[in-house]
């Protein structure tokens, strides 16, 4: 059995899916991000002044790109895997000799592709508003790849447990969005009182946003090593959980 063909098939299916509905998957992030730039960058940002030694618009660009990557990686896998469960076409894979790691890798890979593609689109849109500088391209690439993998895995676990379409919107609404907004996208956590700085350090998105911002601007509220260690820890943990759930057939097999 050639696992690479199976992996490629799942990946192709996933990419075909979000490309087929590009108006729903690729256009909204571009519009949303333009509004963020207009409101927070131009209108409010001009009154805020500098943050971390950069004008506010330049400061928030990496966070906004990362926000789009996180949301799209997560929602792609959550909605795709759940609708495969709902339409029962997930059985196409379950009856085939596809190892569980290939199923996980295929869906996560699909989520990463959408997250990264949306990230690129948002980056291009942001060029209309601000000159983007690059401090370390490899840090940018590593952060975006690892972060998209983390949230794609999160979306997969959400979809495995989900019993209805409501269940795949609860986590993004009540957990993901607050964590993203409190993850240092719009501010430096060094501005917070000590207590809230400590609380912020329990938010994994802080590490992702800061590592990503370091790649662009060369500034970060957290150490880069800690940031990558946290992201890798989450990837390993979520991958192990996803594999265990699929192996046991939770939500998939009676």
């Amino acid at each position: 059995m050639n696992n690479s063909i199976a992996l490629k098939s799942i990946l192709t299916k996933e990419i075909q899916r979000f490309m087929r509905i590009w108006v729903q998957t690729l256009v909204p992030p571009a519009i949303t991000i333009s509004l963020y730039f207009v409101i927070f960058g131009s209108l409010i940002g001009s009154r805020i002044g500098e943050m971390g030694g950069f004008d506010y618009m330049s400061f928030i660009v990496p966070g906004l790109i990362m926000m789009s990557v996180i949301t799209n990686s997560y929602s792609n896998v959550a909605s795709s895997f759940f609708s495969a469960k709902w339409q029962r076409n997930v059985e196409e894979m379950l009856v085939a000799p596809v190892p569980n790691w290939v199923i996980v890798a295929g869906y996560v890979g699909g989520g990463m592709c959408r997250g990264i593609l949306v990230g690129l689109i948002v980056t291009l849109v942001s060029l209309l508003f601000v000159d983007i500088q690059l401090h370390n391209i490899w840090v940018i690439i590593a952060t975006v790849v690892l972060t998209s993998a983390t949230f794609a895995l999160g979306g997969l676990i959400n979809a495995i447990f989900a019993g209805s379409f409501d269940d795949i919107s609860i986590i993004p609404t009540f957990i993901l969005t607050p964590l993203t907004y409190l993850g240092g996208v719009f501010y430096s956590i060094s501005l917070l009182p000590d207590f809230w700085q400590g609380v912020s350090q329990a938010n994994p998105i802080v590490y992702m946003v800061n590592a990503f911002r370091y790649g662009f601007l060369g500034i970060s509220d957290v150490s880069l090593v800690t940031a990558f260690a946290v992201i890798i820890f989450f990837i390993v943990t979520l991958f192990t959980i996803a594999m265990t759930l699929i192996s046991k057939g939770i939500g998939l097999r009676s």
């Binding site: 098939s9 799942i10 339409q87 029962r88 596809v98 009676s254």
Partner: protein, 326 residues
């Protein structure tokens, strides 16, 4: 001997305690055309679910072409093509994508997958629809799409769970022809169906499952040989009056006739009688027969009697248990 399918002591209890399978044993030989019949909720789909790993078994052993699903699941899966009862493909994907991706899950390279997709879509008369999303297909077309999908990795064993449910008779017959051809190519076919005529026409061996237990496992020939009485319908060429026919029926010896109308007679024939006797009697009475047909589906009669036998046995068992308890 290696069987296409070997099931021993297979049991499944669902959450909530419902015992869908109570330790069934079943073997299907390579190249067989096998019917697995039973009333709704008998355990057919659970059995298929366990074989194809969509349902976790509680106990027992399943081997597919000698490969145990507990130890060689991926190898076992590679032999099986499944046509499930419910439509389970993405309604939004075009047919070509569905088929090529499915082949990919079995490791079939894309160029070969495209070739096979074309072959099966043409054979199943879906080629014109290849770029359309699956939701645009009619019910019968969707059933054929599931057959094409199950064949994309050219399996050794095809399991069809009510493949002709809701399909019109013309299409059903063309599907039967297609399945027969596949079987002649050496593919083992396991079929569940509610159309007992379908099982009788296609299958060589049969198992009947009821209440999670196998109540019959034999060849179709042997099963049908258990039939004591068959009913034939005779269409009379020159219309006689009902009174004339009734007079003939009254005078007839040994054979039981019934007058349905002035053109139709029904005859019950047991194993000790034969049709020659019937024709002799009709000839003597100058009744000319236009055509003749077997009235009821023979397998249906047996199926009902087997299921009834089992349910009365269960009833009497529980009654005696109740008496014992008193």
């Amino acid at each position: 001997m290696t069987y296409a399918l070997e099931i021993s002591a297979l049991a499944k209890t669902y959450k909530g305690g419902f015992q869908a399978l109570k330790g069934i044993d079943l073997t299907v030989e390579k190249g067989d055309f096998f019917a697995l019949l039973g009333p709704n909720g008998a355990g057919k789909s659970t059995t298929i679910g366990v074989i194809t790993s969509l349902v976790n078994k509680t106990d027992g052993q399943v081997k597919v072409f000698g490969y145990d699903i507990d130890t060689d699941l991926e190898k076992a899966k590679s032999f099986i093509g499944l046509v499930p009862q419910e439509f389970n493909f993405s309604q939004f994907e075009p047919l070509m994508h569905i088929l090529v991706n499915q082949a990919g899950y079995y490791g079939v390279p894309k160029p070969l997958a495209i070739e096979r997709a074309e072959k099966y879509l043409k054979q199943l008369e879906l080629w014109d629809k290849r770029d359309e999303p699956a939701r645009a297909l009619s019910g019968g077309m969707k059933r054929r799409l599931m057959i094409a999908r199950a064949l994309m990795h050219e399996p050794q064993m095809l399991i069809l769970d009510e493949p002709t449910a809701g399909v019109d008779i013309e299409l059903r017959r063309s599907m039967w022809g297609f399945l027969r051809e596949l079987n002649m190519q050496g593919i083992t076919i396991i079929l569940t169906t509610h159309y007992l005529e379908e099982a009788e026409m296609l299958c060589r061996n049969i198992a009947i499952i009821d209440g999670g237990e196998i109540v019959e496992d034999t060849s179709m020939k042997k099963l049908l040989a258990q039939l004591d009485v068959e009913t034939f319908v005779f269409d009379i060429k020159v219309a006689a009056t009902v009174a004339e026919l009734e007079q003939f029926v009254e005078q007839s010896q040994e054979i039981t006739y019934r007058v349905i109308d002035d053109h139709t007679l029904e005859i019950d024939l047991n194993k000790s009688q034969n049709l020659n006797q019937v024709f002799e009697q009709l000839n003597v009475a100058n009744i000319e027969v236009q055509s003749m047909r077997n009235k009821s589906n023979r397998l249906e009669a047996l199926f009902v009697s087997l299921i009834n036998k089992k349910s009365s046995a269960t009833k009497s068992k529980s009654q005696s248990a109740a008496v014992g308890a008193n």
